[in-house]
């Protein structure tokens, strides 16, 4: 971190704070945040100091280098040193604002949590939204304005830029184009309107590589105007997801996750049943009661068959305009498909008004149109799915927009191109050759967080402010007005899109704060604005500002177009085969469209299904792999649309036959040290014509091997291991069908085949608060949010690909993923498999095996029943980890914090010790949160209330699968769940008495559906 930009961190505290001394001063204010006590420059010394202080603390308390305490000269009002503050703000991704509450420690935002008042958050937060805070402190973020002229670079100031732009754009806008990211911000749209009004000749385009435009266009076809689709799952008895993944890629995914969890719980009357037809495993697919692995290209036909059956077999009335759809059904690909369609159609017909058909964003508008029509016909519209008007009905689709822009540039109609965020050079459709086009533009201005691929080709690069550094606004998916406020001054002097727009426009106000207030004042009711503004800031949202639902009317003309569209799709949609496999490009759960490539937390986050970190891979099902001669981990050359890419293959069940899947967003070249060269870039074969499914890829195995850094075993292993794994799943992850469970609630305990658990010793009596946790496997959707929450809360290091390959990842909570396959099949014959997730962390055994083996008593049991790990006592024999049946302990094989930049250290949580090299660590049930509450409670001499303490993982769980509380309090939520017949402990037969219990997973298959693999047969088997 170079010095001159150092002083800028703490500007927010005090105008006088431009000096390093003050910076250090504030950082040193508090004794308890050890990593923060030393000035950044001496960060490395700190580790020595800590090591030394530990060393001497052993025998003596020798004095380490004298420390300075540096108080404020003028302590700001309302600031109590060392006490964290929480601010409501939001983050915008892909045109929807997600509300969150950020914890700030002495002016440093350290952790983002969900905002319970926000309709799309409900208190939870996605992995990406939580990891965004690491982006804020990324030392590689752009920190300078650059101007390129004839191959030379000049560092400029914002003033230079303002003048330059003023000169360039001070006319009617001729030759000016703006390329913006999708945005829901009222401020942005207001400035845009003013801009276009002031410069009539200027053009405005919006491009987002990952969007729900197909759905939008679908509604345009079905109803004549663009509508926004809002599924509501809490009351949905039958949910049909065709290539749709509402639990992952929907802007309201957190709400939907919460709703499904409720709808599926045995207590609820809904007893939701989930049908999923998809080409690759999605989180929704993992959840499904009936899942059909079907090629992406077959999905239209699938829906057409459903339509046909509904009309023919179940006499569902389609609107006249749509009657044609009933006639076009192609023949089912195979009997699995046929069976799936029959069951689905029957179920949908049987649950009129309480079912819903969802089609994924990768499917063509026509398919969405048909889905909309069917939802209407089934009376689902208005109950399980509602519509609101699209905020920008006139906006062309992103594909159309970028194509038109490209055409105009090619026609030399663009001299000045203002790119507000986004990275088109990297992620625009390959056939547009956007990089080359950018060269043709005389002056291009690129605003972005990093000097990325696009910045490198633009004449001007402008550093953008991070969301947590700037004022802003936005709208939730349902339109709720959402505010964004800065928690810290821009570290690197970046600015936001609205501020830059204001500059370009040359109109005051220029400060984001003013702009946002101005825009809000317009939309605000006439009553006391200051009051209104304060409440909005406190809540982060303007309550009740969601859009009203609209009543959609089918549009005959559009539907005929859709019908033709369907016909074409059906002809194209014959099942793929070894000669012409299908290649599906999907959005990645970690780097999204690639913008988070430089985020270590996300790169190291294991993919939910494949468990791959630091890579993307070509996913292929075992049997397909065998037939195509591809081995697991073999490098494969994929060629399509004139581009050819080499990437490793990952053999994973659940892929449709001959349907290959690769995630976008990898293979960045200008992301930063973390993200550069990670994975392969598939945008290079993504075209305007075929953005999602490539029908004719050439796939060539190269025979070269590549070790994928997976945090779990590969699917394909030796037969002994394979069989043992199959055998164990049923015991580790208990499952039952809803009906069976209701008939016999004890059913899941029929697995316990162990002798009575009698201890040699007199059992320990635990009095006072006794902490316990419960995880509902029925609710867990495997979204990984808990992992990132834990990482942020507990200062867990990122170890990098090499260390993950050595199985040294540090995540305290991991998401165990098991495939349940037909035991009669060999590993390479498997086609399809069920997936179950089991969040696994330290279960805090009462008779913890780890404790007795530690020679120095560095891990002991506390009186409140926690298995405490004392870092400063640990000498690192690793015996405890060896003796841990769950292998949830993590060891600092190296000093993983050694090379951290001082900015990155600013994210650390001062309440948690940063572990040095050579010590063991593990989940503590967030003991720092427990202690904070306990001290507060005992200070005012009151008992701790249930729910007052929430560990990070439980706090952020979208489906509220994780519950925490006092087991000695019979009224607590966790005690109630402990009594639930579904409650069981893994490896209970070892008599270790885990404090973490699981609630068995319930499935709700339709009558007479085939029982899932591993279910029936695992029963008789011994589990002790």
């Amino acid at each position: 971190m170079n010095r001159e930009s150092g002083p800028r961190y703490w500007r927010s505290l005090d105008e006088l704070a431009r000096t390093p001394e003050f910076q250090e001063a504030v950082q040193r204010e508090f004794p308890d945040d050890e990593w923060d006590r030393l000035p950044p420059a001496t960060r490395r010394q700190f580790l020595k100091v800590m090591g030394a202080s530990m060393a001497f603390a052993g025998l003596t308390a020798c004095r380490w280098p004298a420390e300075k305490i540096v108080p404020f000269a003028h302590r700001p009002d309302g600031r109590t040193p060392g006490v964290p503050e929480r601010f409501a703000t939001s983050m915008e991704l892909g045109g929807a604002a997600l509300g969150m509450v950020v914890t700030s420690y002495d002016g440093r935002p350290i952790k983002a949590e969900g905002n319970s008042l926000h309709p799309d958050s409900l208190g939870a937060l996605t992995a990406i939204a939580q990891a965004d805070i690491l982006q804020l402190y990324d030392p590689e973020r752009s920190r300078r304005l650059l101007y390129r002229e004839s191959g030379q670079e000049f560092v400029k100031s914002w003033e230079d830029f303002t003048i330059f732009v003023g000169e360039r754009c001070a006319h009617d806008g001729e030759g000016i184009s703006v390329l913006a990211e999708a945005s829901s911000s009222p401020a942005v749209s207001r400035l845009r309107d003013r801009f276009l009004a002031a410069r009539p000749q200027a053009r405005w385009y919006e491009y987002e590589p990952i969007s729900r435009d197909n759905e939008r266009e679908g509604t345009r076809l079905a109803f004549g105007k663009a509508l926004r689709v809002h599924p509501h799952l809490e009351g949905a008895r039958v949910v049909a997801c065709l290539d749709a993944d509402p639990l992952f890629d929907h802007p309201a995914t957190l709400r939907l996750a919460r709703e499904t969890a409720g709808a599926r719980s045995p207590e609820s009357e809904t007893r939701s049943r989930l049908y999923v037809g998809e080409s690759t495993y999605s989180l929704t697919g993992a959840r499904a009661d009936h899942r059909l692995a079907v090629a992406s290209g077959r999905v239209p036909s699938l829906l057409a068959q459903v339509a046909h059956l509904l009309a023919a077999a179940h006499s569902i009335e389609l609107p006249d305009a749509a009657a044609g759809f009933a006639g076009i059904a192609g023949s089912p690909g195979d009997e699995r498909e046929a069976r799936f369609v029959e069951m689905l159609a029957a179920d949908l017909a049987a649950h009129h008004g309480s079912g819903v058909i969802l089609v994924g964003p990768r499917q063509a508008p026509a398919v969405h149109a048909l889905a909309a029509v069917l939802n209407q016909a089934l009376g689902n519209a208005g109950t399980t799915v509602t519509y609101t008007a699209d905020p920008e009905p006139e906006r062309p689709s992103h594909m159309a927009a970028i194509t038109e822009l490209a055409a105009r540039i090619r026609a030399d109609e663009v001299q000045n191109l203002v790119i507000l965020g986004g990275n088109p050079v990297y992620n625009a459709p390959a056939d547009l050759r956007f990089g080359e086009l950018l060269e043709k533009v005389r002056y291009s201005f690129h605003l972005s967080l990093y000097e990325d691929e696009t910045s490198k080709l633009s004449t001007w690069h402008l550093p953008a402010a991070h969301g947590l550094e700037a004022w802003g606004d936005g709208r939730a998916w349902d339109g709720t007005y959402t505010l964004r406020q800065p928690l810290i001054e821009p570290l690197y002097g970046g600015r936001t899109a609205i501020e830059v727009l204001a500059l370009v426009l040359g109109e005051a106000p220029f400060s984001g704060h003013e702009i946002v207030r101005a825009v809000m004042r317009e939309s605000a009711p006439a009553v006391d604005f200051e009051e209104f503004w304060r409440r909005a800031l406190r809540d982060g949202v303007v309550q009740g500002s969601a859009w009203d639902a609209v009543e959609p009317i089918p549009d005959p003309s559009g539907l005929t177009v859709a019908l033709d569209g369907m016909r074409i799709l059906l002809e194209a949609g014959s099942p793929p085969n070894a000669q012409r496999p299908e290649l599906v490009l999907v959005v990645d759960a970690r780097v999204h469209d690639g913008r988070f490539a430089n985020n270590g937390w996300l790169q190291e986050l294991p993919d939910a299904i494949t468990k791959i970190t630091w890579d993307n891979a070509l996913l292929v099902s075992p049997s397909t792999a065998r037939e195509m001669g591809i081995a697991d981990g073999e490098i494969v050359e994929v060629e399509a649309n004139g581009a050819s890419v080499e990437l490793p293959a990952c053999v994973v069940p659940g892929q449709a036959r001959f349907s290959l899947t690769v995630a976008l967003g990898y293979g960045r070249t200008a992301a930063g040290q973390v993200g550069n060269g990670v994975g392969a870039d598939l945008y290079r074969m993504r075209t305007t014509g075929a953005p999602h499914q490539l029908s004719q890829p050439k796939v060539r195995p190269t025979g070269r091997r590549y070790r994928l850094a997976v945090t779990q075993d590969h699917f394909a292993i030796d037969t002994i291991g394979f069989n043992a794994r199959n055998l164990r799943v049923a015991d580790l992850v208990r499952e039952a069908t809803l009906d069976a469970y209701l008939a016999d609630p004890e059913i899941i305990h029929h697995h316990d085949h162990h002798p009575p658990l009698i201890s040699l010793w007199k059992d320990q009596v635990f009095e006072g608060e006794q902490w316990g946790m419960s995880i509902d496997l029925s609710s867990c959707i495997g979204c990984n949010a808990c992992i990132v929450a834990c990482q942020a809360e507990n200062n867990i290091p990122v170890v990098g690909r090499e260390q993950v390959l050595n199985q040294r990842e540090m995540h305290w909570i991991r998401l165990d993923r098991y495939f349940k396959t037909d035991p009669s099949l060999a590993p390479d014959e498997v086609e399809d498999a069920e997936v179950v997730f089991q969040p696994m962390t330290c279960v805090q055994c009462e008779n913890a095996p780890c404790e007795q083996v530690c020679p120095v008593a560095a891990t002991q049991h506390t009186t409140d029943g926690l298995n405490a790990m004392v870092y400063n006592r640990c000498i690192g024999t690793r015996y405890c980890s060896n003796n841990c049946p769950f292998k949830v302990r993590r060891f600092n094989f190296f000093n993983y914090h050694k090379d951290l930049k001082d900015t990155t250290q600013m994210q650390f949580n001062p309440e948690v010790t940063v572990r040095s090299r050579g010590v063991m660590e593990k989940c503590t049930f967030c003991v720092q949160r427990i202690q904070a509450v306990r001290i507060a409670a005992s200070n005012d001499n009151r008992p701790i209330a249930d729910g007052e303490i929430t560990p990070a993982c439980a706090q952020t769980c979208p489906s509220q699968a994780i519950r925490f509380g006092n087991l000695n309090d019979p009224s607590s939520e966790v005690s109630r769940l402990r009594e639930d017949p579904r409650s069981y402990a893994t490896l209970a037969e070892l008599n270790i008495r885990p404090r973490l219990h699981y609630l068995a997973r319930l499935k709700n298959p339709a009558e007479g559906a085939p029982t899932s693999f591993g279910e029936g047969d695992a029963h008789g088997k011994e589990s002790v």
Binding site: A66, V70, H74, T862, T863, N939
Partner: protein
Amino acid sequence: MNEDKSNDIFIFPKWTWVLRPAIAIGGLGGLLYATVVVAFGFSPLTTDVGYAPVQPVPYSHAIHVGQLGMDCRYCHNTVEHTASASIPPTQTCMNCHKTVRVASEKLIPVFESYSTGMPVEWVRVHDLPDYVYFNHSAHVARGVGCVSCHGRIDTMEVVTQKEPLSMGWCLDCHRNPERHLRPLEFVTQLDWVPAEDQLALGQRLRETNNINPPTDCNTCHR
């Protein structure tokens, strides 16, 4: 072999007999010596107690607290509610020194800090290892007097560490707190002495305020 050429025959002198007693005494003595050195030389009592670094401003608690009778909480105002007692901002000093001793040379750093906004850099005296999470409020709010850990600050010209602040020392009090408990109103009164027997008083306070300090590792280490 017995007719070997070398006619001088090697032999140890008689005084080597002292070896036996020497070994016995030396062995035991050395052991004793080592124990003593380790026990006292390395103890925090030797290494830490009495640490009194020179401060940028020769601030005298003896004057402010002892003579003027200021309460600890006037400056360390967060001590009852938060983990850290927090050193006061320059503001606090200036509340009085705007008018008092405005000419004093010793106060120049304070005045500078006030005008420039640059903080005064105090040297930490009571310094716990980085992995120890001590919470002032938890102790002060339960009736542990400042004096128990900091000694008679009100008599100190220069703040000096009076207690070892070692883990063993902490545990002593956590195991039998009654020796250090006092009525809440006297917590900051450094020269307070109980009217009755301290143990009896402590015992009573302990029951009435149900004080049972935890000795779990993660009470202090997280």
